[in-house]
């Protein structure tokens, strides 16, 4: 076994980076920001299955982030005072929401698909905002607690401190990244990518493309629920704000800035840069949105392939699978 091959692997390097990051972050006092970065990495990478790998432009993914947080809180308030079961319930709940919405969406593509995702996210925003008996309305759903993690009653781990929560989120991040990495290199992952390349061709090859798109929705919705739940733990509350359409560009920008459309690790870089810039600009100016808007315009106009794409870093993830798929797709030119 060649150990150095594993150590050089970007998956390992990414996880190692987050593992040792607190050494630098704790003295700076930015632990909650660091936790937020990891939560958004989970969210953005799950979202990228839909956007970057299946090629479905969703502009309403905040819906799952927000709903995940609410579901987590509701499970804690009404079902059980713990972490695991609310987390599972929230992921399952978001997967179900995604499954229902995707019935409408799985047959659509392109602009029409995007238009509907925006309308749906706004619908959820108003439900969360108006239904204050359940969601706390404008004030949000408060009183979400970081209960100790129990492992079948054998032992408990406390996650009240920011270091405790950091490593809990880190563990989930590790599992998530490895799961997503395995997923995109699985046969299902190839079909996702085939749909992005040419849905008609994938269909003629015998794949049930609406079903595969539906699966892609469910997976990325479930990750939204996971990230939202962790965010609820971080902030002790669930709020309607992330569901509003004006915030729906956040996760898309994290994918794009880093270069997530061509690189598996793009969302990692994107989330770090996005959260850092937001933190810096919102402390020095009250017009963060002016700079955010300018950033979007500049990136889209001059650097739409993102940082990793622009500097052509690595050949991991999407880019690699693109090359793997090339010979096969050339052979099938006649199908159309």
């Amino acid at each position: 076994m060649d150990v150095s091959r594993y150590i050089k692997h970007p998956l390992f390097l990414t996880l190692f980076f987050f593992f040792i990051a607190p050494v630098a972050v704790i003295p700076l006092g930015g632990m909650s920001l660091a936790i937020e970065v990891m939560i958004w990495v989970i969210f953005a990478m799950g979202f990228n299955i839909l956007l970057g790998y299946t090629g479905l432009p969703s502009f309403g993914h905040g819906l799952f982030f927000g709903s995940g947080a609410y579901l987590f809180g509701l499970f804690q308030h009404h079902v059980i005072k713990g972490v695991w079961i609310p987390l599972g319930g929230s992921i399952l709940g978001c997967a179900i929401i995604a499954a229902v919405l995707a019935i409408f969406l799985a047959k659509k593509r392109g602009i029409y698909h995007a238009l509907l995702t925006i309308a749906f996210t706004q619908m959820f925003f108003f439900i969360a905002f108006q239904w204050d008996a359940v969601t706390g309305g404008e004030n949000g759903l408060m009183g979400i607690e970081r209960y100790p993690l129990t492992f079948f009653g054998l032992f408990n781990i406390k996650i009240e401190s920011s270091v405790g929560l950091y490593y809990f989120v880190f563990a989930i991040l590790a599992v998530s990244i490895i799961f997503l990495w395995k997923l995109i290199y699985s046969p299902l992952g190839s079909v996702f990518y085939a749909i992005k390349q040419n849905e008609l061709r994938a269909k003629y090859l015998g794949y049930n493309t609406p079903f595969v798109k539906w699966l892609s929705w469910i997976i990325s919705g479930a990750f939204g629920g996971l990230a939202g739940s962790l965010h609820a733990l971080l902030t002790h509350g669930a709020f309607a704000d992330p569901i509003h359409w004006t915030r729906s560009g956040d996760v898309v920008m994290m994918v794009i800035i880093g270069g997530g459309l061509t690189n598996f690790f793009g969302p990692v870089l994107g989330a770090i840069i996005f959260i850092a810039l937001r933190d810096i600009f919102s402390t020095i100016t009250e017009h963060w949105y002016l700079f955010y808007g300018l950033l979007i315009v500049v990136i889209i106009m001059f650097m739409p392939e993102g940082i990793l794409g622009y500097f052509k870093v690595g050949k991991s993830g999407a880019q690699e699978s693109l090359e793997e798929l090339k010979p096969a797709s050339l052979d099938l030119k006649g199908v159309e």
């Binding site: 749906f120 706004q122 359409w245 949105y289 889209i300 739409p304």
Partner: protein, 289 residues
């Protein structure tokens, strides 16, 4: 009874205004294949331009000049920004216009401040009018009248001029329009300018009804979206029908259950999507590909 009638009128007035917004939004969507998130910001800019212009030139010139300025801004935006993302993934158009919307909203906040303003109505349309057993705002009737004129002008443009035919052709295939030797670049710039001007004038005429605040654009954008989804992309009458449905759903739900007034249109949209996935008047178009 008078209350129901008043809300019915409100719904129609709102519906016509949403129709004007939705048509500009839809023209841009059809020809450029861009979902214009900045449409609401252009609406807000129209209102704020009119606010400043009214102080210098009075009501009527401001009514014309403010939309002209917004239209010119639209031309500039198209020429220097939107043009770069044609033919790319729709995501880039969405993000670009979202970024522009944020920039404009912050610029409004910087220039005019966070406080709300009210735009003054022309003197003859101030106060209420007696309609049988109902006292109704004169200005809202005037607003409905102006919206009808605008809708009529758009209808003439779309149905009776060669430009309209090209725009409607663009809904099915912009490459084919190009292949037929039409100047697609110039058409796109023109349509974006016109769409922006329509949003601007909608902002000017809606100004006296609502207070002017930086977020007013964000708030009107979603009804315009829903109107297009309900009515169907590429249909003039779809936008009118969708506009009226959304306007009436907003105003009538106030009578029954006020909390539902923002939500009702989304439920209607979901129902329409189940029954007619392309919207009430929608036809199959390349935008679905």
């Amino acid at each position: 009874m008078a209350e129901i009638l008043a809300q019915l009128f409100n719904g129609i007035v709102l519906g016509l205004l949403f129709g004007v917004m939705a048509l500009g939004f839809m023209m841009i969507l059809s020809v450029m294949e861009v979902i214009n998130f900045g449409h609401g910001a252009l609406f807000a800019l129209g209102a704020y331009f009119a606010l400043t212009l009214q102080k210098f030139v009075g009501y009527w010139p401001a009514l014309i000049l403010a939309p002209v300025f917004v239209g010119l801004l639209g031309l500039v935006i198209e020429r220097f920004a939107i043009r770069r993302i044609y033919g790319k993934d729709p995501l880039f158009g969405l993000l670009l216009t979202l970024g522009l919307a944020m920039i404009f909203e912050e610029i409004i906040r910087i220039i005019w401040g966070k406080a709300g303003y009210s735009l003054s109505a022309p003197a003859f349309a101030a106060g209420p009018i007696n309609l049988g057993n109902l006292w109704y705002s004169k200005y809202l009737l005037f607003l409905a009248f102006l919206s009808l004129i605008l809708l009529f002008l758009v209808w003439i443009f779309l149905e009776k001029t060669p430009y309209g035919a090209i725009i409607k052709a663009g809904v099915s295939d912009s490459e084919m329009v190009l292949a037929l030797g039409k100047n697609l670049d110039r058409l796109r710039t023109l349509v974006f300018g016109l769409g922006a001007a329509l949003a601007g004038i909608a902002g000017v005429i809606a100004g006296p009804m609502w207070s002017l605040k930086p977020t007013m654009g964000t708030e009107i954008l979603m009804p315009s979206f829903v109107v297009v989804v309900i009515g169907g992309i590429g249909s003039f009458w779809g936008a009118i029908i969708g506009g009226l449905i959304v306007g009436l759903s907003k105003s009538l739900s106030i009578l029954v259950y006020p909390r539902m007034s923002e939500l009702a249109m989304y439920f209607i949209m979901a129902i329409v999507l189940v029954l007619r996935p392309r919207g009430i008047m929608g036809e199959k178009s390349l935008l679905e590909e």
